[in-house]
Amino acid sequence: MARKGKVKIARPDWCKVCGICIEVCPVEVLELGNTRIQVAHLENCIGCENCELSCPDFVLKVVEDDE
């Protein structure tokens, strides 16, 4: 299902810093900031979409590299 692409914080304002995205990420990409999620290691992202599909708040989106 995964496409070529990497995670993007599409709607930062909707993040409730619950950490679910970090829980479901198979590698180390995301980190919790004080008020919202942050991408710490984009290079690690394999575009698996686990975070996008699990985030209860529609914050994350995997997009084409060049987007």
Partner: protein
């Protein structure tokens, strides 16, 4: 994912009211993705929900939506579907809404096999009212109204729906959004009464009180306890202890209620014109 879910969400109502880490948002997300994949017509779809945190789901969805009284969503849905069988009718309900106060409607809607898809958000608790036990709170668990441990037995809702006559029964979980999307999509496309139980975490009023922990811990708990249905079927009873099966648990094809009623209309009207 290669879909635009934005058109199914009422963007101006977001962010939603659910607590940080609440699984209801993941179920909502799975629903819109499933709807997109189903190919059903958004303008011919009505979403009806009851009262509870889960009941708020309809307000975030860009369809004809109806937020009704506690437990009664299926009764309104039955009226909508009967009055206009061309509409896709979806009910979103909670474990209290759908299994306690609305339990009788679940039984009878299943029995009729009316073409309605139910997504029941099971968080094992009354979330909205602050953590009282529900018919889905496991025996022994703590809730605000079972401070000494819950002595009630909880339901197996999928078994209940199946034995009542539902022709599609499945269970999904917020830890498995991909499977849940597929399950909901199949339920939406099933002709007849489709009952989908989704396991969702309420960290605020259930997880923390029952030593499971916050949202992340609750998902870990799901990971340790969920078994695909195919595998579950092959396990012996001792092995199954404490585990929960997910997937399409039951599906048969049977004549649907509004079709049957249309047949009645056709017959009666033909009889009359022959007179």
């Amino acid at each position: 994912m290669d879909v635009n879910i934005d058109k199914y969400l009422r963007q101006d109502k977001m962010p939603h009211i659910w607590c940080p880490g609440c699984g209801h948002g993941t179920v909502l997300g799975s629903f819109v993705r499933a709807f997109d994949q189903s190919g059903l017509d958004q303008e011919k779809t009505v979403v009806i929900s009851g009262i509870g945190c889960s009941g708020r789901a309809s307000g975030y969805l860009n369809f004809d939506t109806l937020h009704v009284t506690h437990g009664r969503a299926l009764t309104f849905a039955t009226g909508v579907k009967m009055a206009n069988p061309e509409l896709n009718v979806i009910v979103m309900t909670g474990d209290g809404d759908g299994a306690a106060i609305g339990g009788n409607h679940l039984i009878h809607s299943s029995r009729r096999n009316i073409d309605i898809t139910v997504v029941l958000f099971n968080n094992n608790i009354y979330g909205m009212t602050g953590g009282q036990f529900s018919p889905m709170t496991p025996t022994g668990d703590t809730a605000t109204t079972s401070p000494y441990g819950n002595i009630d037995q909880n339901f197996d809702l999928c078994e209940l729906a199946k034995s009542s006559g539902a022709t599609f029964v499945g269970r999904g979980a917020s830890y498995q959004p991909r499977k849940m999307i597929k399950l909901i999509k199949e339920g939406l496309l099933h002709k007849g009464f489709a009952f989908i139980e989704t396991l969702t975490q309420c960290p605020v009023n259930y997880g923390k009180r029952n030593m499971i922990g916050g949202a992340r811990d609750m998902l870990k708990w799901q990971d340790e306890h969920l078994v695909p249905d195919k595998k579950y079927e092959k396990m012996d009873p001792e092995e199954r202890e404490g585990l929960i099966s997910t997937g399409v648990l039951y599906q048969v094809s049977k004549e649907e209620y509004t079709d049957k009623y249309q047949q009645v209309i056709n017959n009666v009207m033909a009889g009359e014109s022959n007179e």
